[in-house]
Amino acid sequence: MNRTRIAWGLLAPALAFVSLFFLAPVLALLAGAFKVEGAFGLAHFQAFFAEPLHAQVYWRTLRLAGLATLVAAVVCYPAAMALVKVPPPWRGLLTGLVILPLMVSPIARTYAWIVLLGRNGLANSLLVQGGVISEPMTLLFTEGAVFVGLLQLMMPLMLVSLVSALENLPPDVLNAARTLGANRWQAFFKVTLPLTQEGLIIGGTLVFTGCVTAYITPALLGGPKVLMLETLLYQKVNVAGDTTAASVIAVLLLATTVAVNQGLRRVGRGSKRVAT
């Protein structure tokens, strides 16, 4: 009994702090989206999606996040397979190169694309000098720019997840598959891929939710022309002063990340059942 009391004494400050300064305000904000003239209702959501721009922004957010997740998986899978086979001294260095960017300010990381894709940036100078185009073209503030920025920002998360999944793969199972007559591709699709899908799912969740909730990249590389959910939310509060629309976007952001988390986890469980 005494021990339980000590334990709760240790937990209480953190629980009280997080409830008071995080949970309560967030719940109050989210509740605002469902409150219609003092009662529960979904009218704010209907009004929000009645605006074609809003539906378009939501769809763009899902599309860019999905595409970045897919490309990250396709690029990082072979890269991770190569990385786990690199001999030790090099391997530590290369792993450092993957992890270090995660510690650096996302603004510094995103700014490079402004340098490269701007009117006087590298891409335009090369294209003009090479005679491909006569005038610098607009590369910044396009969906392509946002996509490249998001991919670069989130790729380390996929790579790290896949590397740790591949490290836990017992080396014998592959040899066994090959001995039993599987060719390289069969061994990959029937053994390696199913046994490492956990890493793929964790990495995919991190990249997708990271893209959906990214603010800096769409703000700097997309601007007001290529809005995503987070930049739209910012605009609703600071330009339009529309708190209700902001609450609706907050609910959408949270619901989307939670749905993807749960959905991918279920996919993982479902296919595991098929495999066994």
């Binding site: 334990a7 702090f17 510690m103 650096v104 300010s105 670069q152 509060v237």
Partner: protein, 260 residues
């Protein structure tokens, strides 16, 4: 069989170039002496690296960022270390609920936390802006402190504090004289990780700025909207170098990579 295939190795090299290449671009742009941003730069010099130290909004917001970073890191450790200890040493009823509640700040997008604090703390209860920044960042960092310190406590044999208590130490003495010295490295690593996270944080801070109170990343984004000179490249160069130095030092002293 155990050598990486050529195609996979090529993909690895491409991926690393894509991840690291942009840093070199920012570095080169940071050493430009041009009037406006161009790449490759037409002239080279330290002009903009010196300039960023004279921009008043950068000076003031750096001060705020440091105060918020240190304050929220200390706050998160003060709240999180007892939690990690309690969860590892005591059978707490409802521990899964405790864990879930304390990981939520990682799940909820930062922009929502910032807006929620603005609407329901700053505007409703007149919480000062600086205080709202501090509590917002602290809530965000608590999960980091709990996770890193918990991992270290899981590797520490529980018998050692039991032994100390059997030998006559009080519970508090056992914690401060036996347990704490053994998890110092983890606490240090958690502190560095938390500080970096707070220092780079944008979405939580976005709505929590007011007259005279703004963080460095927010001011950098504001500066970019009005100026096209290479200042931000210069400042980014400095930030990358500082981050490298901090991470390298922590790795050497505490083995940061074990905790990330």
């Amino acid at each position: 069989m155990n050598r990486p295939s050529r195609a996979a190795l090529a993909m690895l090299v491409l991926a690393l170039l894509f991840l690291v290449g942009p840093f070199f671009v920012v570095f080169i742009a940071g050493f430009s002496a041009d009037e406006t941003l161009a790449f490759p730069p037409r002239s080279v010099g330290l002009r903009w690296l010196a300039h960023v130290f004279t921009v008043e909004s950068f000076q003031r917001s750096l001060g705020t960022s440091l105060v918020v970073g240190v304050g929220s890191t200390l706050g998160a450790l003060g709240l999180g270390v007892p939690v990690a200890y309690a969860l590892s040493r005591y059978a707490v009823p409802g521990r899964e609920w405790v864990r879930t509640l304390l990981t939520l700040p990682l799940v909820v997008p930062g922009i929502i936390v910032g807006l929620a604090l603005l609407n329901h703390m700053v505007l409703l209860y007149n919480l000062p802006v600086l205080a709202s920044l501090l509590v917002g960042h602290t809530a965000l960092l608590v999960p980091y402190a709990v996770r890193v310190v918990s991992a270290s406590l899981a590797n520490l044999r529980q018998d050692i504090d039991d032994a100390a208590i059997t030998l006559g130490a009080t519970r508090a003495q056992a914690f401060f004289k036996v347990v704490l010295p053994n998890i110092r490295g983890a606490i240090g690593a958690a502190a560095v990780l938390a500080f970096i996270t707070s220092f780079n944080q944008v979405p939580v801070s976005l709505f929590l700025t007011g007259p005279g109170v703004s963080t460095l990343p927010i001011e950098m984004m504001a500066y970019m909207e009005t100026s096209y000179d290479p200042s931000i490249a210069a400042l980014s160069t400095l930030l990358v170098l500082m981050t490298l130095a901090v991470v390298a030092a922590t790795e050497k002293l505490l083995g940061l990579s074990r905790y990330v």
